[in-house]
Symmetry: D2
Subunit: 462 residues, 4 copies
């Protein structure tokens, strides 16, 4: 398979391979990667979507500027996609946007606002309950058909998805990837320009120690070219505390609708003295009412709730784009997505070590959090190996904020595995966003379960 520095005949299984956006980004990155070639098997319950991506991918590969030679194929079954796979990429939507609309908007009746609704909070918990059985199936299939493959998860809720894979198949070689930390590294690069006039710093040049759980990660040391960035951040957070910081990152098309002015991060710095390392929309959801007490309050914190209607409209746009790409009215071009998936694949193939933040079961990298909880820290990726970097321990108060979600996610996992409403309610009612009387909380959870019951097979919701 390896020819000099080239890896050929690589086989990648893409579960959720009908996705737009994520799939196109990956195709684009693969096209740019001259050391690699092989086959990508696209599997999706929306088989038509997979087939369209097969066409789009093969057309992209045919472009002269595409260096990596890749063949895209639609797989009829999970088994067909997985057999022989060297890598498995999972990026799916649990249920539909209609289900997600229930996740995000039903709680609004009770004054609970969620900016994303896919990680924690009522929405994140319901989403987890829907996705756990699917991930059980994935883990079992990987164990049967490609137990040695590397598995990269992109689906949210990241922690629960990755944790489920390990729960079912403890020897799995899986990890979860998320670009939220990158955005904060870009903010630090912008900060260098704003505060010190240093231009053109790439986010990869900002070295950070990352610790926490996905979407609620923290940076307790950061450095650029020998400079300690924490004292500069202190100034920066103070300078822009009231107004927010405006040089938004618009380069990355994936993110452009999800802006904020970083006021939540600045306030978390003021409270805890650390850099919170995710987008404000995600951070806010871990902090109970702090930044989500009312629409006005949210507006004053300068981030926005992402309505599911936007996602639906966006899907329409992407489907239209997808048709144009299939018809040849538009052409996907190989340009970097800013994601690290292909770099990680290369590192695991032995084409150069890399250090980046990933989600993995705790073997000690996060002191103070339970062993086996899925945590996010840096890790060294090298040939066929991923070793988390020991990140140390969070300050007691931040650890406590994180811990309640760690425990809650573990309870959610058990609820999803056992399809147990009582366990689900322990998690639901313990979420800091669910600041309701217990009867209201029960009524809300029940309504959300019933709304999405077609995605909850085996639950007794009579």
């Amino acid at each position: 398979m390896k020819q000099g520095n080239r890896i050929e005949q690589l086989q990648i299984a893409y579960i959720g391979g009908g996705s737009r956006g994520w799939a196109w980004g990956l195709m684009s990155d693969l096209a740019l990667s001259e050391e690699l070639s092989g086959t990508v098997k696209l599997y999706d319950i929306d088989k038509e979507a997979a087939r369209r991506n097969e066409i789009i991918g093969n057309r992209l590969t045919a472009l002269p500027e595409s260096k990596g030679q890749w063949k895209y194929e639609t797989a009829d079954s999970l088994e067909e996609a997985l057999r022989g796979a060297d890598f498995v990429i999972i990026s799916i939507l649990p249920g539909t946007f209609e289900a997600m609309a229930s996740d995000v908007h039903t709680p609004e009746k009770y004054g609970i606002y969620q900016s994303v609704g896919d990680t924690v909070g009522p929405g994140g918990i319901l989403r987890a309950l829907r996705i756990i059985p699917t991930y059980v199936q994935f883990a079992e299939a990987i164990k049967s058909f490609c137990p040695e493959a590397w598995v990269i998860n992109y689906t949210n809720p990241m922690t629960v998805c990755t944790r489920t894979l390990y729960e079912v198949f403890p020897e799995i070689k899986a990890f979860g990837c998320c670009h939220e930390v990158f955005g904060v590294q870009k903010l630090l690069a912008d900060m260098l320009e704003d505060m010190l006039g240093i231009n053109g710093v790439r986010r990869e040049e900002i070295n950070t120690n990352v610790l926490g759980i996905n979407h609620f990660t923290w940076i307790d040391s950061a450095e650029y070219d020998g400079m300690d960035l924490l004292p500069i951040y202190k100034e920066f957070a103070g300078k822009y505390y009231e107004e927010g910081f405006g040089k938004h990152d618009i380069e990355n098309w994936m993110n452009s609708y999800f802006e904020s002015a970083h006021r939540v991060k600045f306030d978390l710095y003021r409270r805890y003295g650390l850099i919170a390392a995710a987008g404000d929309r995600h951070l806010a959801e871990f902090c109970g009412k702090s930044y989500l007490s009312s629409p006005q309050d949210i507006a004053s914190w300068k981030f926005s709730l992402t309505p599911v209607s936007w996602r639906m409209d966006n899907r329409k746009r992407l489907i239209e784009q997808s048709e144009r790409l299939v018809n040849g009215e538009e052409q996907l071009k190989p340009k970097g997505s800013g994601e690290e998936g292909v770099l990680q694949i290369k590192a695991l193939l032995g084409l150069g070590d890399m250090v980046t933040n990933v989600n993995l079961p705790n073997i000690g990298q996060m002191a103070g959090l339970p062993m086996n909880a899925v945590v996010e820290t840096n890790a060294v990726l090298s040939r066929n190996r991923i070793a988390p970097v020991a990140a140390g321990r969070l300050p007691a108060e931040v650890e406590s904020l994180v811990m309640r979600h760690v425990v809650n996610q573990e309870t959610t996992l058990r609820a999803g595995l056992e399809r147990a409403e009582n366990l689900a309610f322990r998690a639901f009612s313990a979420d800091p966003l669910v600041a309701l009387g217990v009867e209201d909380a029960r009524a809300l959870m029940r309504e959300m379960l019933l709304n999405t019951k077609e995605y909850l097979p085996g639950w007794d919701l009579a």
Copy 2:
């Protein structure tokens, strides 16, 4: 000092010795205890109140039915009270009822209702901040004047008070006592009557394993005469879930204004499968909005908020009673208070072992909670020794509910020791009752600090 089975010339220092209620109960129990005699030194910043209790106590001792011969003296200083003490009893009010009114009622502006306001929640935290410096002083004085004395704390917030004593003087022989678990043991005795027709069971005959922290303790096994009480409780909690259980305990005059129908306990049983072991008023405050979301909601849970105005009126009544007792218009009679203080003193003097629930630093008795945190479990009291019983571990979800308060109380302690508003806000904003936007939370804490600033010497509250 020991004469056969009698202990004479015992010296007890009573800090807060001007108290009504508690002090009179102790005097009464001492009068009934024929094995003991000695001196009680009453120390109080309200010296007049101490002096009145001196008269009341000595008059009680003079009654023919008083077996224990005790002399009551007012001490002019902490040092005078403590020098030579064998036992130190601490039962004080931090600040005034006016300060307590701020603790309890200021948060109501923001929709935060507190049934007691002396343990956790905004009120509990502010009360802790006021009391920590006082307890630092007590610990230092005990270290100087009677380092070998046994110290029994009755003051709330129990956990923080006891923790402060150990923080300042780690070798102190202190523990905290609280009667809330007794009330639940009485409830279990009532349950035996109600469910099985077994009458006349005394609460001491109900054996329970107690674990948790003060006012948020749990019972995970309970037994009467070889019978496992958990399955019976399951039936009982189901039977009275909606209406509540009505055979209220009215024997104990200390408790008569603090009734509930135990619906919070029954709901906690439904949620977690354990018996929550404190009064509903206290339990509710640890559970965020669950049982305290609105006055209507609270009413439907069938417990009541204790307004501070009631405490003020009650004080007036007690002062009047105190005057009658001093004038001889009324006579304090020796009858058992239902409290265990004197039994504990006897056990520590070697007059018979006892097992009861107390608050002590964790040396392993509560697996899963941090070492040195003050936890409440059973302990064996024997001559000059108190050994906590290993209580095991709480279920994950309950442990998580408890843990957030454990961490918060530790942060509160550091805030109080360092007089640091930033640390205080970490605790304040992490309390599950403070389900507010962060700006509102800041405004509320600041208002509460300013309201009580005369009891916060050394704080920079400009």
Copy 3:
């Protein structure tokens, strides 16, 4: 079953019921116990021995001075003994004295001397390997036939036996009892006489905190009548360090051949500042070569190796005595054995709480040792409940000495369960007494395994 303060129709299963000594002691204690009556089912693989004890027991019961009315019956099977049992007592010999001779004396070829050979060291490990499958069987039978019974283990190796019961049947209500700590409490009573002229103190009046593992327990605080005994012990250990202390305890016929002058204890005090709480013969075996480097060295430490030949002779004497007791030439008299078994049974029946040292899985009572390891600390025994007392933590260096045996015993358990020679050798070679070249260690273990292979069914010892 309960009639006022009397418990009738109690059923006790005695596994190893053909034993002499232990069985007679128990019979004697039962005869003295007026609150109890019932049936003892004697089960033994040596059925004749059980039958002889049946006769002896019933004859004892018939004596006018016997208050407790007990019927002794021989059980034909484990099932017959266990069905309906309220209590199970286990006191057996794994293998024969011939096997024990191999345990104790084979290692002498390699300069390894063992004073007992039944706990740790090469002998203790081999004994454990033999006994584990038997205890697996006991645990399974108890689970099937009397899962609610209280199980009291007296067999050595105590830790491994008790640990095996819990490994197989985690809900078992078992604990292990050992009188070694009592001997040290008696020594402390003797010390009071010797050093302070205080006579007639009973060992039960000496309160101690006990912590460690069976036969390697420690006392870090001790008290008599309000007096701290540690400073006195310091003087005492110094005074008798060279000569040893000579007032040997000869009251207890069970112990009379197992005397020492306590020099090992005094030396351990010198080294670690704690009171080692077992007989010197047992303590020495945990300490590698320290007190067992050569026969001369052992003699200078003033304890003796117990040759298995003595045990064989003693058995002969006991068999003869047994025959005399059966024939009526001699009469067993009800007199207290000094053991606590019957007191513990009473406490568990609700006839009065007691605090004593027992062996139980760690639920936190021994901080610093792994959860679930069987440890020895005090516990409170009350009706149908045994709650270990949190004993705190050993000093680092003592903890380390203890820990290596804890890990080793866990490995031994796995070796015995899996019948795995490789695992057994990990334990064997890690024992501090096995200070041999690895080839010698392998040869020794193999010889010991082969010597006793008839008691190692299922092992592949080809």
Copy 4:
């Protein structure tokens, strides 16, 4: 200081800068490193030796083939060496070879053989006691004069030296380096040639997970080019178990006198299923008598004891060589030493990340070992940052072998800091090599202390 990719005016303090061997290797590596230039300040209590190295170093720099431009200066004081330092290298001998002769050979009287005597065992402990006060001094000086400098320790006992630095100055940026793991990586490369005919693999291409403590490190996964090396090692260890493996590594002049046939490693593999990752001479010393029971036994394991007389002779040879180098009769040539010091310096300067094994306080990288213990695992070195890789946990039995040394080294540290003979004896007698009667152990330790008392200032050895 940074000019493009060049770092100029770097300042290195070399404590022990009069050393031969190590110093010359470093000089050689610096001469080869074209990106770096600056000053090396040589500090040594043997100032003449430092001065000779100054001459040798400057002469080396002057060679045309030397790319890195370095100036060597002798420092008169520690302060002079440290002020302004960017890096501090510490490589010293505690005491003299005469002291080391006592460490290594005195125990032989008691049948205790040590192959090196500088890490654990009687010799390692005595060496630690001598060196701790010196390292206290170093840590204080670094704190005063160059608190931001990176400190690389090469001195043995590595663990205790590094631990002392952190004990005294917790914010120090220190780590310990040792080449023993490299030798095992070379062995794995040789294995690839021997077993699979794969030639020319460099040790850097063997990826390993390293865990344990210095000189008792283990490898639980190893990979070359996607191949799992553990199954191959199993074959390899079996094939050469009896005879040992003979392709000795003779490239590295530093190591040529310290060969072995790896039989100890093969036997440890047989016992524990892991690759022990240090030279056999070091490994053996951690394993009690296993491989060191007698000179004959040692010979059969095919490694040799390094007599201190050899070290003395070698010193003589090196002094002669040093004189030749000073006189110009011989010329030091820039050729790679095989050590990684300069690579690490470059990585810390931001000239390329590297992953290698280092000794650092445990922040979670070694699950199962105590926090703050100095452990050896991989770490990522990048600009101004060193982050240990989470290495997971050792199997229980190996962990237990390691743990006893971890505890012992901590006790040794306290003994050295407090100059407490009693504490020293706790460590000494707990070392598995000290399989002696306690009186002999006491006599031996005392003799060793007295032999070296001039290096133990402040000890009360009367």
